[in-house]
Amino acid sequence: MLWLLHGAAGIAAAIVLLILLFLAVEAWPILRHIPLPHFFTDASWHPGEGMYNLAPMLSGTLYAAAGALLLAVPLGMASSLFVLYYASPGLANGYLRLVELLAGIPSVVYGFWGLTTLVPLINQIHAPGASLLAGILILTLMILPTVALTAHAALLAVPHEYIRGAVALGMSQWGIIRGVALPAAKAGIVAGVTLATGRAVGETMAVLMVTGNVVQHAHSPFDPVRTLAANIALEMPYAMSDHRAALFLSGLLLMMLVMILWGLPAWPRKDIHG
């Protein structure tokens, strides 16, 4: 029985290795005649003219993901707290269904709605409308359900004795939430936030439609940006040979960035599941 479980876990890990291998193999052709530093020092990203600077798109990805997390984590947590501690059962149920539906709306629908409703709205404030801000708002809507639903599950799992003890001690509702429930559910909430971050970094379709896709470093939230994932989706269908390999390389670099981001806090964190 145990070997079965180990095998199952091994498959999950093997998939990641396969994906990395795949990216490396497809990216190799371009690394043979363009040295790596070029991907950060070229003038800009113009594959048609042999320029492959990835840095602006990397920053675009990071800004969009960070902005979305900044909004989605508080909103998602607030949603789960609302459902568990503040809303009446009927309201809580209805709202929970709503959040679950938000999780299932296709990214193209978000993108479509963003393009036809959100972008013109932002355009009224500051041209061109398709911008980092639009990307952040749409991403927030998309990753919020992940944070909310995982936080909800984590909070539900807090042992009742903790809550009852806190009530017996006369703590106020918010005090119980902040002092007892949230810390007890921390591991689950962090897991959910990590999932949400992954989604924010990897989201392709919706971002492609609302961020403007101009390859540049953003100086304000109203500037258009291009994320790495959107870039791959945008250019892959028409990319030949070197251009194609460059796109796979950008995918590989994105994965490495993610691995470094996850690796930094993860390795020392040995005892969190103790």
């Binding site: 479980l5 990641v16 479509f112 599950a153 918010w174």
Partner: protein, 294 residues
């Protein structure tokens, strides 16, 4: 949801400093904002697509590049792909979660390696999943453009969600349960199936619903794996497009497809609502048969 927590009892309501009132107010505002955004999106979809909805829409096959006719073949493909994805990902995912939570010491390098890989997997862009799925399932394993290939690619995408939530749920089960089971002489496997998993059910459900939502919402991963064909599939090795792909094609590629796209999106949302309700009922039923609430 049946376990309404004592935090809502009237004993607390009588003691409300300003901070609590503010927290309550803020949370209601947040819930309102999010509901309003959802309502706005659905309203736009209804406005664009309600005219196109009918029973015929659900039973006809697509015609004229999807602008007329219906979505029956697409619904069938979507259901098949979803079933394959879940059939592959659920056993694999929950088994891995059980391993990580119950059988592997918290500090073991195997456990940490698996967890780390899953976190990395969660951040792979969907388009890369599509390209990988194409290279591995379609070409290397020879499935070609097929529902099977698409379903398996989706299964890879769902694994991090399922495992992460299931592991959290299992870890949250108090050790008292495990110790009591051991004291009663119940084997670890039996304790897992009959005691721990049912108690962790809400977390499993959360993961399942998130996974289903994600699977139904995907386009980029399926473009190169299950493909574009809108014919009624006659086997799992046939190519078939999902509802999300259909919506993408109609709204972004076919001129004049917006109304049909909105109508399809409405069908998808309603279908998802039904699936979610059914899934919750099933799991609650399972939990009800195995756990006697305190």
């Amino acid at each position: 949801m049946a376990k309404s927590l004592p935090a809502k009892s009237s004993a607390i309501r009588s003691f409300r400093p300003f901070r609590d009132r503010f927290a309550q107010f803020a949370l209601y505002i947040v819930a309102f904002l999010i509901s309003a955004s959802f309502a706005w999106i659905v309203f736009d979809l209804v406005r664009g697509g309600i005219g196109h909805l009918s029973i015929d829409f659900l039973v006809d096959v697509p015609r004229n590049a999807g602008r007329s006719g219906g979505i029956s073949s697409i619904l069938v493909s979507t259901v098949l792909i979803l079933l394959i994805a879940l059939a592959a990902a659920l056993p694999l995912g929950w088994a891995t979660a059980a391993l990580l939570a119950e059988y592997v010491p918290a500090n073991s390098s195997f456990g940490r390696f698996v967890r780390y890989s899953l976190l990395v997997l969660a951040a792979v862009p969907s388009i890369i999943f599509g390209l990988f799925g194409n290279a591995f399932f379609s070409i290397c394993l020879g499935m070609g453009f097929s529902i099977l290939s698409g379903g398996l690619t989706l299964a890879c995408m769902l694994l991090p969600i399922l495992i992460s939530t299931a592991e959290t749920g299992l870890r949250a089960v108090p050790d008292a349960y495990r110790l009591s089971a051991a004291a009663l002489g119940i084997s670890r496997t039996a304790a897992l199936f009959h005691l721990l998993l049912p108690v962790a059910a809400p977390a499993l459900v959360a993961g399942l619903l998130l996974g289903i939502g994600r699977a139904l919402a995907e386009t980029a991963a399926l473009l190169f794996t299950s493909g574009y064909v809108d014919r009624m599939p006659s086997s799992l090795l046939d190519s078939g497009r999902t509802l999300a792909m259909h919506i993408y094609d109609l709204s972004m590629n076919v001129p004049g497809g917006d109304a049909s796209a909105s109508a399809s999106a409405l069908v998808l949302i309603i279908a998802l609502l039904l699936i979610n309700i059914v899934a919750i009922r099933l799991i609650a039923g399972w939990q009800g048969r195995t756990i006697i609430p305190e």
